[in-house]
Symmetry: C2
Subunit: 272 residues, 2 copies
């Protein structure tokens, strides 16, 4: 079993409740990465829902996760249809909600409408070996998660405050060789440095209020290519859009999050 | 009182439940528009939540609304913070959920982070008087909603199947002079013809699975300018992105939905 699967594993304790312990291996600074927390919720949803693929997942981050301590995930199925199941789920620690999720699952291998296709071509990014490994030092924060995820940044966008635009791009894969799948894409959509850093420098913590991921296609094995851009930052609230492609060049996920770009403080760091 | 406020009004029947009747005045074909249904849910949330502005609203459409019949909206506050309240809400008719909403409210007049700003300039669109009024006839569907909303389409994008790209753009306002506000933007984000029509022609019904709206700024009075684009359509599932600007040229909302672009059938029509 790969780390990702072992460290998101839960035990079902009743019809609607799963239980586990949040790992410290996916921390950014002192708290678990938001994509990891979402993956724990998805582990419960996957068992509860008859359809295989998460088509649209919205996560609201209410409180930071506490690594090394237990969590419960409670799932409610809202509608089970022939082609789609809609469900909500709450991740709780010590009785209070940390992450609230609303999602719809379907089957990406089954066509759902017209045959015409439109897509977004892969962003031009130098190959992984010509990119810069993501470093916690450059962001002034401990990156336990870097032992789990191999993230390579576009060299033009790797140094905070020097890119001239609010963009992050590069490559991502599991370090232990686990192939990417539809269930890994929400994690990958929240595992790059916040795109405002490239423009503004490391300004402070970037807490995510809400993240929505649309999984568009099951990825083939290999690196996932990713691009994240913030074109809209008002009163400290950013909208960051993400695109993920598999190694065959297929668009496999789109993401959008609203987050706060905080002023630098003594505890400057990183998004949850 | 303006039509929008009267026809989304609810009565609180207990601490967490509001009751009303869905109006027929916002129908597209035989069913209420999805933006209208969401506005009914927001009417309950607005009373339940201490913060004034919906910052991020995600709606899942589980079943079509039935106009002219009662509905209940049940609200659960998930977290009340100093700057943000997170809540979920379910709109039910005859005991089953039609629309499920997860949202965070805050105060757009209060800065939440860094002072630097980024924005997306208004799309170039001819003035409203040079645009084409939206017509149900052109889409082969009854448009009761056209009595409530004045929608003008960019002349290059107004005829289905002729635009060469999956884009809708134009202007929108309430017919009765009600000024736009933060609470009207989710409605406006779901009141234009589906953008694939411009490229593919009227292909069939376009049911929304999930719609997320980020309200970015309170609009000033006047027309709202809007642009909707589908760049990603795979296996009949589209991701449509929307941008809304107020009459001062400020970006006031962003939207994204996943919907199904169905093959044409005898009941070809329009998104819910």
């Amino acid at each position: 079993m790969h780390h990702f699967d072992a460290e998101t594993a839960l035990v079902r304790v009743d019809a609607n409740t799963w239980r586990g312990t949040l790992s410290e291996a996916w921390n950014i600074g002192n708290n678990p990465n938001g994509g990891y927390l979402l993956s724990v919720v998805l582990a419960a949803l996957r068992e509860a829902v008859p359809h295989p693929d998460p088509l649209t997942i919205t996560a609201h981050y209410l409180r930071p996760g506490v690594a090394g301590t237990p969590c419960d995930v409670q799932v409610d199925l809202l509608r089970e249809g022939r082609t789609l199941t809609t469900a909500r789920a709450s991740l709780r620690q010590r009785g209070v909600i940390g992450v609230e999720v609303l999602a719809a699952f379907g089957d990406l291998s089954v066509p759902a409408g017209v045959a015409q296709e439109l897509t977004i071509p892969p962003a031009p990014i130098p190959p992984p070996e010509a990119c810069v490994p993501r470093s916690g030092t450059a962001q002034g924060v401990g990156l336990a998660i870097a032992e789990r995820l191999d993230v390579r940044l576009h060299p033009d966008l790797a140094t905070a405050g020097t890119a001239g635009r609010a963009e992050t791009a590069g490559w991502i894969r599991f370090r232990d060789g686990r192939p990417p799948d539809a269930g890994a894409l929400p994690l990958f959509a929240d595992a790059f440095p916040p795109s405002p850093f490239a423009l503004l420098g490391v300004v402070g913590w970037v807490p995510t209020i809400e993240l929505t991921v649309h999984v568009r296609r099951r990825p083939v094995p290999g690196w996932i290519r990713a691009q994240f851009r913030t074109r809209d930052l008002q009163s400290g609230r950013m909208i960051e859009d993400g695109l993920l492609w598999d190694s065959a060049g297929h668009l496999v996920a789109e993401s959008r999050q609203i987050g706060l770009v905080m002023r630098a403080t003594a505890q400057s760091g990183e998004k949850s």
